[in-house]
């Protein structure tokens, strides 16, 4: 052990400090000072009044997933399984079927995302060749009363709108 050693002066040796009570009263004065001033006027507090006051979320935030649609409302997803293949948490479960709306040939008949298993890494969004899956719903808190309610189905994923305009989303680097 070589190197500079700095010996600190030990505090708390004098009589006042060894009595404790004086120091405790001094400390409580600070605490109660803050308490009373905040109690009378809380506008200067550094705390957000969640959930009444929602945080502002940037367009790059990876929130709950959604499936996008073409302008005519048909699902963009072509069930290529790229997201399922890339998913490190293996939380996406797709079943493909013959397409019925006239576009290309293939579409998902089942598209489940288990949000309890999802780690919100965003790899599915990166892997998607159709920009069909996005995490731009701005939903960051998902609640439910049982496990099944956390499995997002095709309909629910399609029904959720995006929280940002196309322009803002692209600005986020997508």
């Amino acid at each position: 052990m070589s190197g500079k050693v700095k010996i600190m002066e030990r505090k708390g040796k004098d009589l006042y400090e060894r009595l404790y009570l004086v120091e405790i009263v001094k400390g409580m004065a600070v605490t109660f000072g803050h308490f009373i001033s905040n109690f009378l006027d809380n506008s200067k507090l550094y705390v957000r009044h969640y959930p009444e006051q929602k945080p502002e979320i940037t367009s790059r935030w990876r929130g709950r997933h959604r499936l996008t649609t073409h302008e005519d409302g048909s699902v963009k997803c072509v069930a290529c399984f790229m997201c399922q293949t890339n998913c490190p948490a293996k939380c996406i479960m797709i079943e493909a079927g013959e397409r019925v709306d006239g576009r290309t040939e293939k579409m998902p008949v089942r598209f489940d995302i288990d949000l309890l298993e999802c780690i919100y890494c965003g790899y599915c969004v990166e892997a998607c060749p159709m920009e069909a899956i996005r995490m731009d719903t701005g939903i960051f808190a998902v609640t439910g009363s049982d496990r099944q309610s956390f499995v997002m189905k095709l309909d629910a994923l399609l029904a959720t709108p995006g929280a940002f305009s196309e322009e803002e989303y692209k600005k986020g680097g997508a």
Binding site: V78, A79, C80, F81, M82, T85, K90, M93, A96, G97, E98, T104, E105, K106, P129, M130
Partner: protein, 520 residues
């Protein structure tokens, strides 16, 4: 061993088999020459120009490797700047009108166009004109769906219908941009090997209606096995996958190369037998029509055997050699008469001279080897004054009409050990489930006397006991395949010199070794 020749590839000396073309000879030692139209079973066509190579001995500067035979001292160039440019240009040509719909293409992951693009091209498209649009999703019949946009016009499928099935339903019509593979109007594919064009197609232009969109190729585990659809014993790959929260499911069979049995092909009917492995399986034991635990069922079988005055044991022609031997030993130990009666497995006049056989069972040849009688007369004689019939995976409902089966069941008590929920299994007093061939291993003898071996291809979430294990539980001596093989070698003269544990991949011709044995 085949004759060898020495030649030079990119200046390096290699030794390859003589008499082959450059693609096959180099492929065998791990040097790939990219090719689309050449297929060993269909011969060289030379239309794709992807396999052009240089040879330094006064020939034309470039020759197609598929049409060039190897020769002693030949100096082959595979990676000069010019050859790589040709490969890039051919790839660019193929991709001009290719839709690049890999996300929805079933071939993605096992597509030659994808592989060659990554290996030999890798350049972005320079095309600025609109692509030529062609027909997609064209039904060609026999469960083949064709996509004309994805097609690279290698003509493998056309040559298959002309050279192999000799039915010639397919042709290439029009020229240049408008060239496309098509059927003749109103004349769809109509042969029993049609689905082979799906395997032959190097790209995703031919897809199977049955497999379409079921799975992506990279999810599938590919286990080698043997098809039990008929007595030919075609070598196959069982492609299966266990999806999350689900059980192992088989999605398709594909032919596996065995020059001595099926070559590169298999029939459509055999291909579809994978469904029998997935559906209508007997998974829980049943006693008097009620579900029961395995131990309860086994106890019921043991009691029935000890109470019976005369027992008949019925063995299936689909059972492996090991299973048959174990059942034969078991039958002998309880003084039961053994029959292999299974006329219903033979479909007369159904076979052809290529792969399909009349006999729809996998291992009937083993009956003669083990002296198991499969005649109706023998079965009827055995049943006479018998009061217990134990059927090992033999579905009597296939061989006998409803009323005949009913009249037999009125006289005897039926116990079935079965993999499938057959009519025989539902009528049985006791039904014990057993593993099927995709979950088991064993040896088979095909119609040409070739001994082949198959291994366990997949393990279900709740594995069933194998037929030998069930036989062992109800009182058989033999507990596993190893014991059965040792017993077989001791009991059957033909198998004496064959190591049943190590059967080569292409199998052993029993007739040949028999001849060799006699001659020695």
């Amino acid at each position: 061993m085949a004759e060898k020749v020495k030649l030079f590839v990119n200046g390096q000396e290699v030794e390859v088999e003589a008499g082959k073309n450059l693609i096959d000879a180099f492929g065998a030692i791990g040097i790939e020459i990219p090719h689309l139209c050449y297929h060993p079973a269909l011969g060289a066509d030379g239309n794709c120009r992807m396999c052009l190579v240089g040879i330094e001995d006064g020939r034309p500067p470039f020759v197609p490797a598929c049409k060039t035979k190897v020769a002693e001292g030949m100096k082959v160039q595979l990676d000069t700047e010019k050859i790589m440019k040709i490969q890039r240009d051919i790839m660019e040509l193929e991709l001009i009108n290719h839709p690049i719909d890999c996300p929805i293409c079933d071939q993605a992951g096992e597509c030659k166009l994808q592989d060659f693009y990554m290996g030999y091209d890798g350049k972005p498209s320079r095309m600025t004109v609109k692509q030529v649009l062609k027909a997609k999703k064209v039904e060609f019949g026999c469960g083949v769906v064709h996509d004309q946009e994805r097609c690279v016009l290698c003509a493998r499928c056309v040559r298959f219908t002309r050279l192999i099935t000799k039915t010639g339903e397919l042709g290439i019509v029009n020229r240049t941009d408008n060239a496309r593979v098509n059927i003749f109007p109103g004349r769809p594919l109509n042969n029993r090997y049609a689905l082979n064009v799906v395997d032959l197609c190097p790209v995703g232009a031919m897809t199977s209606r049955d497999f379409r969109f079921k799975q992506r190729a990279w999810f599938l585990a590919k286990s080698p096995s043997i098809c039990q659809g008929c007595s030919k014993g075609c070598n196959i790959f069982i492609d299966h996958n266990r999806e999350k929260y689900k059980d192992e499911v088989i999605y398709r069979y594909r032919p596996r190369l065995n020059d001595k049995v099926n070559g590169y092909f298999m029939c459509d009917e055999g291909r579809m037998t994978y469904k029998l492995e997935n559906d209508d399986r007997l998974t829980t034991a049943q006693v008097n029509g009620r579900e029961a635990g395995l131990s309860v069922a086994v106890e019921a079988v043991r009691r029935a055997i000890s109470e019976a005055k005369k027992t008949v044991v019925l063995v299936s022609p689909n059972a492996s050699l090991e299973q048959m031997f174990a059942i034969q030993q078991f039958a002998a130990s309880i003084n039961a008469s053994l029959s292999g009666y299974s006329d219903g497995y033979i479909k007369a006049e159904d076979g052809d001279d290529f792969l399909i056989q009349d006999d729809k069972s996998a291992n009937r040849a083993a009956f003669t080897l083990l002296n198991i009688d499969d005649s109706k007369v023998g079965f009827d004689a055995a049943l006479n004054d018998a009061d217990l019939l134990i059927s090992f995976q033999n579905d009597l409902g296939r061989s006998l009409a409803e009323d005949q089966l009913a009249s037999i069941l009125a006289k005897v008590k039926l116990i079935t050990i079965s993999n499938a929920l057959t009519s025989c299994a539902t009528k049985a007093a006791v039904a014990v489930p057993a593993a099927s061939y995709s979950e088991d291993s064993g040896s088979l003898i095909n119609c040409d006397g070739r001994l082949q071996r198959y291994e366990i291809a997949l393990v279900k979430n709740q594995p069933l006991k194998s037929l030998i294990e069930v036989t062992n539980l109800i009182g058989g001596e033999i507990a596993n395949n190893q014991e059965a093989r040792a017993g077989l070698q001791a009991a059957v003269a033909v198998l004496k010199d064959i190591d049943l544990e190590q059967i080569p991949a292409e199998g052993i011709a029993l007739t040949e070794s028999e001849v060799a044995h006699v001659a020695a």
